[in-house]
Symmetry: D2
């Protein structure tokens, strides 16, 4: 059966994203998100727990992460759950589970926000996004707040994926793109 696989989490970035590059220069950022959860136990006592969920972002999004996601910042992440395995030096098979994100968005502000960071925008949230046609300008002054994978993506659940149909260089090239016409709104369904 064709599967479906989607995860949506919101929490605080637990440590600054780390970026790495594959041999072919594809970027991968990794970080984890601390998701707090609280509940009342059988004695009516309030209890809390944090869950640290590892996240990876491929391609252009990786760079956005590295630049703008900072430890402590609030973030909403959307992606697919991926379980990969590797062989430990001991020969055992070990498993690693992480969310392969195709979409993320800054949320809220930091308690101790120094000021200029993308977090703590005047309205307690913001967003950034890089779209296919190469809309992301790394050198812009205004901080991006949200991001959505521009590649045919992750097929989180629906489709294939890790083989993005579009190269980063392509994204950066600012290739022309055509937006939907203004008249879409008046189509009488």
């Amino acid at each position: 059966m064709r599967g479906y696989n989607r995860a949506i989490i919101m929490g605080n970035v637990a440590r600054d994203p780390e970026i790495r590059y594959t041999a072919t220069q594809r970027a991968v950022a990794s970080f984890s998100v601390a998701v707090n959860r609280s509940w009342k136990d059988q004695n009516g006592e309030m209890r809390e727990e944090v869950c640290f969920i590892p996240v990876v972002v491929w391609g252009k999004g990786a760079e956005v992460c590295e630049r703008y996601l900072k430890k402590g910042g609030g973030v909403l992440v959307e992606g697919r759950i991926n379980v990969r395995s590797y062989e430990a030096k001991t020969g055992e098979k070990r498993y690693v589970t992480e969310i392969v994100a195709d979409n993320f968005q800054f949320v809220g502000g930091r308690r101790d926000d120094g000021g200029a960071a993308p977090y703590g925008a005047q309205d307690g949230g913001g967003s950034f996004q890089s779209q296919g046609g190469g809309s992301y300008q790394s050198g812009r002054g205004s901080a991006p707040k949200s991001y959505r994978d521009s590649q045919p993506p992750q097929n989180d659940g629906f489709g294939p994926n890790d083989s993005f149909p579009m190269d980063i260089s392509e994204l950066d090239s600012g290739a022309a793109s055509v937006a939907p016409p203004e008249d879409e709104a008046d189509i009488p369904f």
Copy 2:
């Protein structure tokens, strides 16, 4: 505040998708999905209800819909909730709510499946997908089973949207695309 907006529904296509084109030749398919829900009422009686949820698909996906989604078929749809308004002839403002899909997937089979349809795949499900680089071949023999919007999309919740950064013609042009390297798997996070 930067919003988030995502809907995931699964049910049966209530009527064959209808396709239309905007002045600029952008395709839009519309159909509705019958989502069944059942519960036990206070008397322990089983009760059922259907909810018909309107869905629209823009661009290339619209054509995939028209060709493969058929009345009665099972489908999983992912997208954002959109509320648009229009003025009735009486002058009143009317509202229309629909899911603007960026992803859909065939699910299960039809009771009375004649055979060749994309539904009723041998394993009770299947999928198709059109990815950025133009992977969808309209004339192929094998029926696609799932679809994910190849445009930077929908920003369902995260990002912008209806102005897709990539034109349909582009999608159809089969422009080269570079997939992630084989070695991605061995990156030691």
Copy 3:
């Protein structure tokens, strides 16, 4: 086919929730959420749009809404999409679509937060929840921040629903409940 139906939205409360009661005294709160979305159009211009999504909350949650959700506040809502119809005075059939929430959570803070409100918690977010056993204390000093329907609920997608298996009065009665044992963690799967 058994359907699935789930919507997750985040945005700002567009107007203070209104509460009503059915003949049998079941509470229903209704409000709408302004979900902002921005994107770059074909000219690279940033564009924005808001979508106002109607939400209803049944039962105890309705009261939580009324007390704590205020116009302008950030909120994350989870529920199922419901389309109901009614006959207009003109005889036409009209449709209303809304999210029947089973879960909601305060997010971020208000720009002009006066202070004591549940919004604007020191860490830019918070949550409240009323659980089956009657954990919600209306008179408490500390503002709740999140809520999850304690009734077998909504079966958003999965199950039945509007016939909640538990009465509001029951919820308030603080009926005993048994939490999972402390030792759950050490279960060797």
Copy 4:
């Protein structure tokens, strides 16, 4: 920040669920779901991959799982991602990630369905659900097809959770519950 944590996956049960009981007799079922994903790589070749995602179900749902979820069957699971750690005999800290489900539903049919199983229902899908008031009758002839946690629970993302406010025995007792009134529909919002 109050977190949010939700995962929705659909795939095939990879092995028959195993059930265990805590010292206090709370049931826990565990199994994993094989989620298939396919995509076209840079050479236009179709590729496929499976991801095995571990799932646990607490309480009454565990018994439903054990009785009705069978290896190979299609299933849709909804829950929160949980990462727990334990100390290996070597002293190292190891991590286990699983979905703590609060909702699941049978989907589609098995390729080699022998006949009577809950899978392969005549319409290619079905559902079961156990609601608070004790609607689940273990001895019933008709196979349940879907399940939703009846406890206030999971607060997947929103709330606390693992301390369910309602005991299984309670669920089985068929304690009275009050469903929403028939007249809900006519409330003029």
